[in-house]
Amino acid sequence: MARYHLITIAIAVLLSPAVSAQSADPMVTVEMRQQGFKDMGAAFKGVRDQFRRSRPVMVMIREYSRPLLRYSREPVIENWFPQGTGPGEGIETEALPVIWERPDEFAARWEDYILAAENLQSAVVSGDLEATRERVREMGDTCSGCHDTFREEED
């Protein structure tokens, strides 16, 4: 049984970029990435909340940081931001057109995030709370660093 599951998952993973990139309806992609980002927001809250306690719990930080690490390993730029999924008719998105005008800069911001996620992972593994706190701060900066330029300001 486990084998079949593995195969199914493998096929799904292999197909997913194709499905999202070629989907007829760009809103499918937009909703997928918004769901992904919300997931990251929720995870970030979980991690950050530990530092609101008098004694942050490392295990909780590790658990909450899992999605943050997982997303850093996804081909997010290709899967979430294909051409044609920017703001336009019938597309509700906060992604700004500048993403597709300056793709290198956008990719660089995502690289910042990947690095921050890896650094956070190492700090968590080391069990050093103060180092982890610093890494969480840095990761927050990579979120804002991208949003400042590439995401629409909320009104």
């Binding site: 927001g41 929720a42 995870a43 809250k45 979980g46 950050r48 609101r52 706190r133 804002s144």
Partner: protein, 227 residues
């Protein structure tokens, strides 16, 4: 105005009520400004002070001077309606000491909404999971987002009722030539000599309320632990 009245200058609002009122206005504008400009640490600080002022106002509404007391100004729907029907005539008469039934309603609604706004803010979290009220770690991301959604909706409600509040004050000015703004600053007004006696709480009574408010503000800011 009828000639039968003899007017005399007399105290209507005590100092704590006036200070509270203008503090609420300042904090309301400040909260709005800091939220719009992403100054979220200051936004939270203002919220804590707002919570303190509100708690003081509740205390003063029970233990304070006559015109500040809920018992004095909260009217039932019947008398509020009756008053509303005669509004055009009433606005030309001297404003009663303290709140008229409509003013009381608008103040109570504003107080209640501000209280709700502060509570929602304490639980709110932004979409990135970064900026959040100090109590939001007790609730899930989804619940915190829900609080933030209502934080936004209640703010819009507040804008509406603040507008109603200001329009009512303006009408008194335009129709009756009575400046209630000056009255809320100086605390004094020309009242008919026949008006009922008002009691003013000695200032020491406010000390307990200020202490209560202070403890609350101190407690809330102590929960606001930076990353």
């Amino acid at each position: 105005m009828t000639g039968a009245h003899v007017f005399q200058r007399r105290k209507v609002w005590d100092l704590p009520t006036r200070c509270g009122h203008w503090l609420l206005l300042l904090l309301f504008c400040g909260s709005r400004w800091t939220a719009e400009n992403g100054e979220m640490q200051w936004h939270r600080y203002m919220g804590y002070v707002m919570a303190g002022v509100l708690v003081f106002r509740l205390y003063w509404g029970v233990f304070g001077s006559t015109t500040a007391r809920f018992k004095h100004f909260l009217r039932g729907p019947a008398s509020t309606l009756a008053y509303t029907r005669e509004l055009r005539r009433r606005a030309r008469q001297p404003a009663p000491a303290g709140h008229n039934p409509l003013g009381a309603l608008s103040s109570t609604v504003l107080l209640f909404l501000l209280l709700a706004q502060v509570c929602l803010g304490l639980l709110a979290v932004d979409v990135d999971g970064m900026e959040a009220g100090p109590l939001s770690f007790y609730v899930s991301f989804e619940a915190g987002r829900f609080a933030a959604l209502w934080h936004e909706r209640v703010f819009n409600l507040l804008l509406f009722f603040v507008a109603v509040h200001i329009i009512a004050v303006m009408l008194y000015w335009l129709l009756g030539g009575q400046n209630l703004i000056v009255r809320m600053i100086s605390g004094r007004d020309d009242q008919p000599g026949s008006a009922t006696e008002l009691w003013f709480a000695p200032l020491w009574r406010s000390v307990l309320g200020v202490a209560l408010a202070g403890i609350l503000v101190w407690y809330l800011q102590s929960l606001d632990i930076p990353l």
